[in-house]
């Protein structure tokens, strides 16, 4: 260590709490396993038996339906489970109305207002696009509508659009964690990387992934350089020219945040151009889509991100029964495996149920929104993906970031993770702390996380 602001990379990574492997310390952040049990205790006080109305908005049409479909399935399954026990507090059955996120942002704003003011929903949930949550969050606040976004992960939502949320929550990890997780995974696995190529969908998600990956990698692997950048439009299916451009820049590593149907088209073309033989590949969302959307031809050894949230094979085996049983039930119900959207919207309803039950235990009767919000703030919850914590200051869900390397395991008809190389990172180590200044308040970085990394992360060596 020659300068005070540099640090040995291995020490740096371990200081970040990065762990690799399917077992061992990875489970450290998981609290004692417990199965989601039926509410055995009867609810206190008088509970109305009117239905509890939820509005679930997700992509039912268009290219992003590949994520929207699992989201709705997770939601439906949770509602069915809760209703099978008589409903919330044993009385209120969950009713769902759906809305198509693909109708466009302005139509979504109208639809949210309609759901609340006309459909009289009690809870708004779902939402995938990071373009939509910043539009819908403020609307939910102005409507005083309890809202639990499953995704729509942009930092912008709680950094800027709704800086002081009251009614709005979000369960999945924030966007900046995606790029940083991929950077850590890449630095961990391929420290020799010097030349990096970028390929991102040309919208805010791609921009954010690129920016945060670069910020992190500059500190984890100083001296790397960006040798190529490509920004295909979201929905592009012809990547041949992008692939050739990437090949021509001869990088050691390609970092990409292309996802969904675009990713499927991309990897199939990249395969035939021999791209995977020439470089390492790190992604943020390769395994984010419904697992069966990928084929066995998917190359092995790719850092296959899941939006740093959840892949159904982890935590695996009997080590975390909540996940095992969730995956089994999900498969039984839908004849397919869940993705992070399925898990997110499934957890959303169960978390709400827990908050309602706790509030009921404290006060009796049906809790009002304020009491439910009080319970959700700071709540810790065991979920299939591990321990989820709702930070009280910004209503953002935090769980350990996770990513892994693709491998063709014989028991599945599609690629999954190499169980021995799963990387987990405690989320607090890659996100700005609670009171860190937001963009526009003392700094003009795009996110609080970006400013935090620039200010506090040292440069590593070795």
């Amino acid at each position: 260590m020659d300068k005070p602001n540099t640090v040995d990379r291995r020490k740096f990574l371990s200081a970040l709490g990065v762990t690799v492997g399917g077992v061992g310390v990875a489970g450290a952040s998981l609290i004692a396993p417990q199965v989601v049990k039926a509410a055995t205790e009867p609810a206190k006080g008088k509970i109305p038996d009117t239905p509890y109305k939820t509005g679930h908005m997700t992509f039912l049409t268009g290219p992003a339906a590949v994520l929207g479909d699992p989201s709705l399935k997770g939601h439906i399954m949770a509602a069915e489970e809760i209703n099978a026990q008589g409903g919330l507090l044993g009385k209120r059955k969950i009713e769902t109305i759906t809305a198509d996120e693909a109708a466009g942002t302005d139509a979504n704003v109208k639809e949210l207002r309609r759901m609340k003011l006309e459909g009289k929903i009690d809870l708004f949930t779902g939402v995938i696009s990071s373009g939509n949550t910043p539009a819908l969050g403020p609307v939910a606040e102005e409507l005083s509508l309890l809202t639990m976004f499953v995704d729509g992960c942009t930092d912008f939502l709680f950094d800027v659009a709704v800086p002081n949320p009251k009614y709005t929550f979000r369960l999945t990890n924030i966007q900046s964690a995606d790029g940083i997780t991929a950077a850590i995974g890449a630095a961990q696995a391929w420290p020799q990387t010097r030349k990096i190529a970028h390929l991102h969908p040309d919208y805010s998600y791609g921009r954010n992934a690129s920016e945060h990956f670069t910020l992190a990698i500059e500190r984890l692997l100083p001296g790397t350089q960006v040798v190529s950048e490509s920004w295909p439009k979201l929905g592009t299916t012809d990547f041949t020219s992008h692939i050739t451009k990437i090949l021509s820049s001869e990088p050691d590593l390609l970092f990409t945040s292309v996802w969904g149907g675009d990713y499927v088209a991309w990897y199939k073309q990249a395969l035939r151009y021999g791209l995977f033989d020439k470089m390492k590949v790190a992604t943020t969302l390769a395994f984010g889509v419904a697992p069966h959307a990928l084929g066995k031809d998917h190359p092995e050894g790719v850092l296959a991100g899941v939006h740093s949230n959840y892949h159904f094979t982890y935590p695996g085996g009997d080590r975390w029964p909540i996940n095992k049983s969730f995956v089994q039930r999900y498969f039984k119900r839908w004849n397919e495996y869940p993705n992070f959207q399925s898990e997110g919207s499934y957890v959303t309803l169960h978390m709400l149920k827990a908050a309602i039950e706790r509030a009921n235990k404290l006060m009796g009767g049906w809790p009002d929104d304020e009491m439910i919000i009080g319970q959700l703030e700071g709540m810790g919850f065991d979920t299939p993906s591990g321990y989820l914590y709702i930070r009280p200051d910004n209503h953002q869900g935090y769980k350990d970031a996770v990513t892994g390397f693709s491998k063709n395991n014989p028991e599945y008809p599609f690629p999954t993770w190499d169980q021995n190389r799963i990387i987990t990172i405690p989320i607090r180590n890659i996100t700005a702390p609670a009171n860190w200044p937001k963009p526009g308040k003392g700094h003009n970085e795009s996110t609080a996380a970006a400013n935090w990394i620039k200010t506090t992360w040292p440069k590593s060596v070795g």
């Binding site: 809305a99 207002r113 003011l117």
Partner: protein, 331 residues
């Protein structure tokens, strides 16, 4: 003779006043949701009114009017973000000249062609704006768009913050938009009944003959384009505060398709057609999206049926029906 003319105008004014009064009395009865939806409808009506000056009165089908809606919306967003302006009046006062300037520019380029080439040229130009709004991430926020906080109304006299402000905003804003809408209707009515408006219709019906009256065709088309774009921009200006956010979607070509749909739905050969179309389409799309995930199919079927069965739109069909009834009453 003059008296006769005045009488028909008084009748018209009476009908308009009655409709306006009805609209003004509605909010307490229909609740906040319908009030804000109706506000969206009135805004769509303003956009369609502007669009129809070109389609219905000048005979030019623009497939790029999303550009002007977007220009209005993004102008407000920039004023709010970069100039710290939060007054609706300033949005309008500053937004209109900017919109007019850009409409004039687009129009200057576009009116050199007619028919399908005009449509494709306007489409291409609007797509240039779309791709810029989408690609210039650091200026326009890319697909995230730009947020616009609630502005103050009436030079800061009415402002909205604190609890329940949304409800107050919706109610006040409804009347605000209604007032602007009323002004727009009157202005547009005067325009289409002015010598200029008559000249546009003449150009629409018979370009060659219009030229042989000494009318300078492309000059008239250009001015019509300018007015049309500015009206549609005004709709964009009014739309942003209600929506709270603007994204490149409103610049994308299917949104232009919706504007065309709107005019056709109401009937573009009628003055009131686009107004009715704007309001009906707002409800149609909202409830289609709410009712079925196959809302695109629903809208497509409605569009095709409309063209097949009701080519003159709702207003055209209703007025034909009224004529027939009147004729029956006489005989």
């Amino acid at each position: 003779m003059r008296w006769l003319r005045e009488r028909s105008k008084v009748q018209l004014a009476a009908v308009a006043a009655a409709v306006l009064l009805l609209l003004a009395l509605l909010p307490p009865f229909i609740g906040v949701y319908q009030t804000q939806l109706l506000t969206y409808g009135l805004i769509a009506a303003i956009a369609a009114l502007g669009f129809n000056l070109l389609l219905g009165y000048t005979g030019l089908l623009s497939f790029g009017h999303s550009a002007f809606f977007g220009i209005g919306a993004y102008t407000v967003a920039f004023l709010a973000r970069d100039a710290g302006i939060h007054s609706m009046e300033l949005y309008i006062l500053l937004g209109l000249p900017i919109s007019a300037l850009l409409s004039a520019l687009f129009g200057y380029i576009s009116v050199r062609h007619t028919r399908i080439f005009f449509g494709i040229l306007t489409l291409a130009l609007s797509q240039v704006l779309y791709s810029l709004a989408y690609k210039l991430f650091w200026v326009t926020g890319g697909s995230d768009g730009l947020r616009v906080p609630r502005p103050t109304l009436l030079a800061g006299l009415v402002s909205f913050s604190g609890p329940g402000s949304f409800l107050r905003f919706v109610n006040s804003y409804y009347y605000y938009v209604l007032a602007v809408f009323a002004v727009c209707v009157v202005v547009m009515w005067v325009i289409v009944h002015s010598p200029f408006g008559k000249a546009l219709q003449a150009i629409r019906d018979n370009e060659v003959r219009a030229a042989f009256l000494g009318l300078r065709i492309s000059r008239f088309r250009w001015v019509a384009f300018l007015i049309s774009g500015t009206f549609t921009s005004l709709a964009g200006i009014l739309w942003v505060p209600l929506n709270g956010l603007t994204t490149p979607e409103i610049l994308y070509w299917p949104f232009s398709g919706e504007i065309v749909f709107t005019a056709l739905l109401g009937g573009f050969r009628n003055f009131s057609g686009p107004i009715v179309g704007g309001i009906v389409f707002t409800y149609l799309k909202t409830y289609a999206v709410a009712t079925t995930e196959y809302w695109q199919l629903l809208l497509g079927v409605v569009l095709v049926m409309l063209i097949l069965v009701l080519p003159t739109g709702i207003v055209g069909a209703v007025s034909r029906l009224a004529d027939r009834l009147k004729a029956k009453g006489k005989s």
